[in-house]
């Protein structure tokens, strides 16, 4: 089956094909899910090298669990975000909290001038630094809600919390981010 033919299939359907040995499904899942897992791990860890290790391990766990995947119990992405967050927690505990950011390769965007790209990267770096200073659970809730744009009920499932607890974590996290970033708005090009 060609890769394009699988683009309409759900993650769960692809995982079932994967478990039956379909190599095109393996490729489709890799291309679809790895960027999400890597980005999430990076936002929780703030370091690309460690984010890659975590993303590879999370994907490996998905491959291993595929034959025993119970249909309808959880979304594949929900499961992956949970596994990724747990792996990141282990990493953070091992290394301690504060570490400098690695340089992140800038995605190529032809429609953006180099000056705009630099400013965008500066804003993203400022946000990442502020995220790194948050307590771990607040950081995770804010990232899932406002960067990954996932709904609160699913975040509650990922984090094993009630929706109210997620809302509370997100509100506290955003308050801390506003305080950290508010003074840098002008420096980062926000004049409104």
């Amino acid at each position: 089956m060609p890769l394009d033919a699988l683009s309409d299939l759900t993650d769960e359907a692809l995982l079932a094909l994967f478990a039956r040995g379909d190599r095109v499904a393996a490729r489709a899942l890799t291309m679809r899910l790895t960027p999400k897992v890597l980005a999430h791990a990076y936002r929780l860890l703030g370091r690309r090298d460690q984010a890659e290790d975590v993303a590879q391990e999370a994907m490996l766990r998905l491959w291993r669990v595929a034959p025993d995947w119970r249909s309808g119990e959880a979304k594949v992405t929900t499961w992956l975000y949970r596994v990724t967050a747990n792996l990141c927690t282990d990493r953070l505990r091992r290394r301690g909290r504060t570490t400098p950011l690695d340089a992140i390769p800038e995605p190529v965007d032809a429609a953006v001038t180099p000056a705009q790209a630099l400013q965008r990267q500066a804003r993203a770096d400022a946000l990442q630094a502020a995220l790194d200073a948050l307590p771990e659970r607040q950081r995770q809730a804010v990232v899932l809600r406002h960067i990954e744009e996932i709904g609160n009920p699913e975040i509650a499932e990922i984090m094993g919390l009630s929706v109210e607890a997620v809302e509370s974590l997100t509100a506290r996290g955003k308050r801390a981010l506003r305080a950290a970033l508010g003074q840098r708005r002008e420096e980062l090009g926000y004049t409104e």
Binding site: L29, T30, T34, P35, L127, G151
Partner: protein
């Protein structure tokens, strides 16, 4: 992905937008490593492990009537094999009787020999 507008935050949204636009993209060699893991896992999980072979044999045994039937089947198979290797004299005499007095039946599998024999007879 749902309803971010409900909790729109003009102070922070530009930062969140910048984070999304600069999300780290997986490089080709990293994707290749993930895919290699996937294919290795597929090979391991789709090969039938020994315990699954045993389970399938047990299932076949049950389908044929369980261990008593399997024991009877095995006994019959062994007896058949033994009769083939060392047939009792009584059995040979009986078979000769069924085939008549024409003597032993010879089947030559080589057509060339058969043709030569036929020509000699003519």
């Amino acid at each position: 992905m749902t309803g971010r507008r409900e909790d729109h935050d003009p102070g922070l949204d530009p930062f969140f937008d910048a984070a999304r636009q600069t999300a780290p993209q997986p490089e080709a060699d990293f994707l290749a490593r993930v895919l290699a893991d996937a294919e290795a896992a597929q090979i391991r999980t789709t090969a039938l492990p020994a315990h699954r072979w045993r389970a399938r044999l047990a299932e076949l045994g049950r389908a044929l009537g369980g261990w008593p039937a399997m024991a009877g089947l095995s006994t019959a198979a062994v007896a058949g094999l033994w009769i083939g290797i060392a047939p009792p004299a009584m059995l040979l005499a009986q078979v000769d009787g069924w085939l008549g007095a024409a003597g032993p039946l010879v089947i030559d599998a080589e057509p060339v020999t058969m043709v030569l024999l036929t020509e000699e007879a003519m």
